[in-house]
């Protein structure tokens, strides 16, 4: 019963003797109830073979602890510790939801079976074109190889493992993949002052927060996408997975177009002013500017204080238009070094107002100021990730080997509360399981429900459920449509 394909249920619904018109609604109801039953069944299945008894524990051989047994996890244990990782992937990783997310249906389809996975092994070897017939096989292989991370690629027209059979022919090509975005704080190094390189703090995380706001609303309102999953990348950035069917089947051209539509900050280290926009601003930019203005005051001027030193404020001056204005500002700031950025920003308008030069162009100044706000706040996307259908991106819920943090989804409803430094690490999670005392009246709880990973997995699950529901509705409708012409034949 547990694995009964839902199609049989649907057939039953269609075959019932209801008057024409109502079957579609009926089907939804029926299948919804049944699906949940199915999931519950899978749950209990999974609990049974938790330990994979017959598998040789190669990696653990040199460890004194026996595999799988609860270990004392001190803070000294590194996140990349194989035994720790193994417990995580064995007991906590949400395999089933990952599977449903990629598969868009409870029973394995080509969406999952022809999906490329790529493993980065512990010796840094990179294993591409892996594919699995079911989530269990994927899980088994991950536990066998214990990759330091794994990535998700596109769905191909055939099983990626058989790609050599189609050497050079068009029969093997990528068909679909979620539209992805990658925002990384290293791209903000010239505007953030608090940290550099791989380090982050809550101050500079605000750049990611505002980036998510701007990109998310553009994807939803402008392009009409609904299923957007934001994931913390484990160290210093965030990924977006746009999972709508329409987004998944886009070709490279369309992906490039969206990336281009969203890209505003252009130019390299030497190109000077990086935002040069046409006026009037495009509605997308007007909206983004509205979102970003507040952030600019609080999170850039106050928190980052990017123009405090004379060298730094020189950078600001170079972005301004009027030569006279620049000169008087420079003079003013030279006389009071270490003036805060907030005051300097206010000075621009004050000085501009004071200068009564006849041909002063206040419109140009306003435009330049808007450009500056955007240059310091507008999302900086790693465009290459979005442009290509066959680009690989790290899977959600993988552990970042450096920080030990789990790549958890970011709930956009409480975006401001997301704390990248408070994200659960493997070490903390395993400790939480160990500290858990069994509640007698609650039976057979999943391991992840005992840890602080629970809210994140809940969030992921509800995302996957809505996605699956949408896909299923489309499918039911199509089947229904296809029935119509047939009935005319008789």
């Amino acid at each position: 019963m547990a694995n009964a394909p839902p199609t049989t249920i649907l057939d039953e619904g269609v075959a019932s003797d209801e008057p024409v018109g109502s079957p579609e609604i009926k089907v939804k109801e029926v299948s919804e109830v049944k699906l949940e039953d199915i999931f519950a069944g899978v749950d209990s299945d999974e609990d049974d073979d938790e330990e994979f008894p017959g598998r040789p524990e190669r990696v653990d051989r040199d460890q004194s602890n026996s595999p799988g047994s609860p270990r004392e996890v001190g803070s000294s244990v590194k996140a990349s510790d194989p035994a720790l990782m193994r417990s995580f992937y064995q007991r906590l990783f949400p395999w089933r939801y990952l599977f449903q997310w990629l598969n868009h249906s409870p029973t394995p389809t080509d969406d999952f079976k022809h999906r490329e996975f790529a493993f980065t092994l512990r010796n840094d070897a990179y294993l591409r074109y892996q594919a699995f017939a079911s989530s269990d096989l994927l899980r088994k292989d991950v536990l066998r190889l214990m990759p330091s991370r794994f990535e998700i690629g596109p769905v191909y027209s055939a099983n990626p493992r058989d790609r050599k059979m189609f050497q050079g022919s068009a029969a093997f090509r990528p068909l679909s993949k979620e539209l992805c975005f990658d925002i990384d704080l290293t791209d903000y190094d010239d505007v953030r002052t608090c940290c550099g390189k791989a380090n982050i703090c809550n101050k500079c995380w605000q750049f990611i927060t505002m980036a998510i706001k701007v990109v998310d609303v553009a994807l939803r309102d402008d392009f009409g996408f609904k299923h957007i999953l934001w994931v913390y990348s484990g160290r210093r950035g965030a990924h977006a997975w746009v999972c709508d069917k329409k987004a998944r089947t886009m070709d490279d051209l369309k992906r490039r177009v969206i990336a281009g539509y969203l890209e505003v900050v252009r130019g390299g280290a030497q190109s000077g002013k990086k935002v040069n926009l046409r006026r009037p601003l495009h509605p997308h930019l007007t909206r983004s500017l509205d979102i970003l203005k507040a952030h600019f005051q609080d999170d850039v001027l106050e928190a980052q204080d990017p123009w405090r030193s004379p060298e730094q404020s020189e950078k600001l001056l170079q972005l301004l238009p009027d030569k006279e204005l620049i000169e008087s500002l420079r003079k003013k700031w030279d006389s009071s070094p270490e003036r805060a950025s907030t005051s300097k920003w206010a000075d621009i308008d004050a000085v501009a107002k004071a200068s009564t030069s006849k041909n002063f162009d206040s419109k140009a100044l306003l435009d330049a100021k808007q450009d500056i706000v955007l240059e310091y706040t507008y999302p900086r996307l790693d465009i290459e990730v979005s442009k290509k259908l066959n680009h690989l991106l790290k899977s959600p819920f993988v552990v970042h080997p450096g920080t030990g943090r789990v790549c958890v989804p970011i709930d956009t409803r409480s975006l401001e509360d997301f704390d990248p430094l408070g994200v659960p690490t493997v070490q903390s999670l395993i400790r939480e399981i160990d500290a858990w005392t069994e509640d007698s009246d609650k039976q057979s709880q999943q391991d992840w429900e005992k840890t602080s990973l629970k809210p994140y997995i809940d969030c992921f699950r509800s995302f996957v459920m809505t996605l699956m529901k949408d896909e299923r509705d489309v499918r039911v409708k199509r089947e229904h449509d296809e029935d119509q012409p047939d009935s005319l034949e008789f």
Partner: protein, 506 residues
């Protein structure tokens, strides 16, 4: 019991409408009419033409297409291309408007129609050819569309039956501000035009270039397009239809195998359409007698063009370089004859802050990949990538924040470029002014050549006086490796002369 419906047509006699079946059906003769100057090339020609016409028409069109492709390689704008192409089009493929009382109308349009389909046959065999063909055909179509008479263009578009939804009145009111913002930039009559503008709503995927450059308002996956912008929609439609048709042609192509009249002509045509690509084979730019080693690199920098020497300087300053910078620079080094071992040594020493382990893990593979030492079969057999030409550096992968590759003349702002030039010892005012003008006119390679001539003016003068320069060596430099080669040879002219002969062949 079998139910019978006597109204149904027997399956065997049913009219076959499936295009897959129709594709292989014998063509029936159909008189072609050309009501419009432009053509979407939907129906193949069926009339007889002679073999000579077949070949001649194809060659004429090919000439046009090759020239168009060259224009795109030279980064010309649409108007520049139009200007450049006009005499050629008039000579080889004239196409007059209905309003002109030309007697040649039908003949011209027939030639256009037939030559398109002949080349379609010739260029459908491989993916690469198909892509290039559809790209240049699209360029040609765009050129003709923009040159077309307003009224005739409207009539042509009307005849295409593209399904565009008009925007309902209430949405027009609701999004008045947004629509105004995107249609504003059309000159002084914007206000007036906006009120009279008719808008239509299409899937955003149909107007990719308008979306990419944010020239339309988007909402819920629909783009609100002013009718003025229909041009880009028509062009996009042309491309998608052509691409689909090319795939079908490719599948039908094997049926031509038996034909020994057409196949040789077609093969010949497609062979002559090889790209004037920047295929700079590694060895040909290497200079004899130069000591090309990692150790000597700091001495050789004086012969590098700005794009490379600025990256070299940054590498020495920061002890690192971002990915595309490494790629561009490594390929250049490969081109000047730096061996793989030396190149690895060069990068190893360049990234001086890294441990051996980090270097080997993160960077070693990429350098080897560039040289074709690792990677897929085709990469290894081809000896890695070829060094980037100016064209590629100018148009592909513009540098993002923190990246230092690209062309300084294009990707630096004027101040940074000036200070870069001055720090390289170029402070001559006339030269700097010239560079600024070139940059403003987007003639980036002219700026680079200007600098080259300035830096080498004494040597160039001597070489000219001695007459050792051939014509090809006076041409504009369009490849960084050519810059190096010429620079090195010029500076070492005297020394080599004493050795006997002057090595200055192109």
């Amino acid at each position: 019991m079998k139910r019978q419906d006597f109204n149904r047509i027997d399956a065997k006699r049913r009219n076959v409408v499936d295009h897959r079946k129709k594709q292989f059906a014998d063509p029936t003769y159909k008189e072609a009419q050309y009501p419009h100057r432009l053509n979407f090339y939907a129906t193949p020609p069926t009339a007889d033409i002679t073999l000579e016409q077949f070949e001649q028409w194809a060659i004429d069109r090919l000439r046009i297409l090759a020239e168009l492709e060259a224009c795109s390689f030279r980064n010309k704008t649409l108007s520049e291309t139009a200007l450049h192409m006009k005499p050629l089009l008039d000579k080889y493929m004239p196409l007059d408007a209905n309003s002109s009382s030309s007697t040649q109308l039908v003949a011209q349009r027939q030639k256009d129609h037939y030559s398109h389909f002949i080349l379609r046959l010739a260029f459908s065999s491989t993916e690469d050819l198909r892509r290039r063909f559809s790209r240049v055909e699209t360029m040609l179509f765009r050129l003709r569309l923009s040159a077309d008479d307003m009224r005739e263009r409207a009539a042509f578009v009307q005849g295409l039956n593209l399904d565009w939804d008009p925007v309902p009145e209430d949405e027009l009111r609701q999004f008045a501000a947004e629509l105004a913002a995107v249609s504003f930039g059309y000159g002084k009559k914007a206000q007036q035009a906006r009120d009279e503008e008719t808008w239509c709503k299409v899937d955003w995927g149909r107007v990719p270039d308008l979306v990419e450059s944010r020239r339309v308002f988007l909402r819920a996956g629909k783009a609100y397009v002013p009718f003025r912008e229909q041009q880009s929609m028509v062009v996009a439609e042309f491309t998608t239809r052509l691409e689909r048709a090319l795939e079908l042609t490719a599948r039908a192509l094997p049926r031509l195998d038996e034909d020994d009249r057409l196949t040789p002509i077609l093969n010949h045509l497609s062979k002559n359409f090889v790209a004037p690509d920047s295929n700079y084979s590694g060895g040909s730019t290497a200079v004899e007698g130069a000591e090309i080693t990692a150790r000597n690199m700091d001495n050789l920098v004086q012969h590098f063009p700005m794009c490379m020497s600025s990256m070299h300087r940054i590498l020495r300053r920061d002890a690192k370089l971002k990915h595309f910078g490494r790629l561009q620079y490594s390929l250049f080094l490969k081109g000047i004859g730096l061996s793989l071992e030396e190149c690895l040594l060069f990068w190893r020493q360049g990234f001086s802050k890294l441990t051996d382990d980090e270097f080997n893990k993160e960077y070693r593979y990429n350098v080897r990949h560039v040289y074709g030492d690792v990677g897929g079969d085709s990469n290894r057999r081809g000896g890695g990538y070829s060094p980037y030409s100016c064209q590629k550096i100018l148009t592909e992968h513009p540098p993002g924040p923190g990246e230092t590759h690209g062309c300084p003349y294009r990707h630096f702002n004027m101040e940074n470029l000036t200070s870069l030039l001055q720090s390289s010892g170029i402070s001559d005012r006339a030269v700097l002014q010239g560079v600024k003008e070139d940059k403003d006119n987007q003639k980036f390679h002219m700026a680079c050549n200007r600098v080259f001539e300035h830096v080498h003016k004494t040597e160039l003068k001597r070489a000219r006086d001695d007459g050792v320069l051939t014509a090809s060596q006076l041409e504009t430099i369009v490849h960084p490796n050519e810059y190096f080669k010429r620079s090195y040879l010029l500076k070492h002219m005297g020394k080599q002369q004493s050795g006997g002969d002057v090595k200055m062949d192109g």
